[in-house]
């Protein structure tokens, strides 16, 4: 890999890690506060109280799981970029025109 390619990997890793960070710091908390209490529903819609909560909790659960997954992926991509950059550095250190 060239330095341009490792930079692409690092950039992709950062983009994904940024999303993971936003999900953890903002989105999960926002979803937790999107509850709609029973008293907000009119009588004819009382059947929807549990349905709304079930979906809110479902979206929150999936968001939490996605956050964990993309956090791991972002870190892995950064790790890969580091690995290739290290290999590139080792190869250039071992190269000499005098040989």
């Amino acid at each position: 890999m060239t330095s341009i390619e490792t930079e692409t990997l690092r950039s992709a890793g950062k983009t994904i890690s940024d999303d993971a960070h936003t999900f953890a710091s903002e989105t999960v908390g926002k979803l937790a506060a999107l509850t709609m209490p029973h008293e907000a529903f009119p009588l004819f819609a009382w059947g929807l109280v549990n349905d709304y909560e079930q979906v809110r909790r479902g979206v929150a659960d999936v968001t939490g799981a996605v956050q964990a997954a993309i956090d791991a992926i972002g870190a892995a991509l950064t790790n890969i970029a580091n690995h290739y950059e290290e290999q590139e550095r080792v190869r250039s250190d071992n190269f000499s025109y005098r040989d």
Partner: protein
């Protein structure tokens, strides 16, 4: 459970104020049609039925905005993930790369698409509830005010005669029929809101079917073998 960011003290107060307003309109119409036999009782019944379904629409408006923002955020995150996968695919080719691409495409991107669509459905539900509550409230106030005006006109038409009494009966019967029609429209709106929230859950349940009413998100955990393949450079060289 976290405190609701959508419904608070102000909304409780607004709903209370709306109940008082609806009660005043209903009581005024009942007083206007007092000389008729069944008028006050029927008007009182309709007013109680309306009151039970009067709530402030504001939380649903705020809910619509919040869920819309979430839907956009998930959609954009999915697009960034797809783009990142494409970029990485150009430069990284080995078993680790394959594991990365497969997991991102079939699990993470699909999960983001599912929650984006589910959030969009919840936004639609909030819109339906908002619209239903607004039309229900305004319908009751407008129709009741019109009936009160009709009664006033009947009273002003001259001394209290059978014709005036029939005018009052016509006013409350017309109002009650119109209110029943408005109530049916409201029921239809609630039904649509229920369909939207059902669609939202179906989108999640199709991908994360779990036990009881909880979803199973195990599929989003990076399998240990893939975790090693993707994250440990030494394992790529061995493979």
């Amino acid at each position: 459970m976290a405190e609701s960011s959508l419904y608070g003290k102000v909304d409780r107060g607004t709903t209370h104020d709306l109940w008082v307003t609806v009660g005043i309109f209903g009581a005024a119409l009942a007083a206007c049609v007092a000389p008729t036999a069944a008028g006050p009782a029927v008007v009182a019944g309709m007013t109680v039925l309306a009151e039970l379904n009067i709530r402030t629409p504001d939380p649903w408006d705020a809910g619509s905005d919040a869920w819309n923002d979430l839907s956009d955020q998930f959609e954009k995150a999915k697009n960034r993930m797809t783009q990142a996968r494409g970029e990485v695919d150009k430069y990284w080719k080995d078993k680790g790369a394959e594991a990365f691409k497969t997991f991102v495409e079939t699990h993470v991107e699909m999960a983001l698409a599912a929650i984006s669509q589910a959030a969009g459905d919840v936004r639609n539900m909030c819109d339906d509830m908002w619209w239903g509550l607004v039309t229900h409230l305004s319908g009751f106030l407008v129709l009741t005010a019109a009936a009160i005006a009709a009664c006033v006109v009947a009273y002003l038409s001259g001394p209290f005669t059978p014709a005036v009494q029939w005018g009052l009966v016509a006013a409350w019967v017309t109002a009650v029929l119109a209110l029943l029609g408005a109530l049916l429209t409201f029921v239809q709106q609630v039904w649509t809101a229920g369909r939207d929230i059902g669609d939202a859950f179906s989108k999640l349940d199709n991908m994360f079917h779990g036990e009881a009413d909880r979803l199973n998100t195990e599929s989003l955990k990076l399998p240990e073998q893939d975790r090693i393949r993707i994250g440990d450079p030494h394992s790529w060289e061995k493979e």
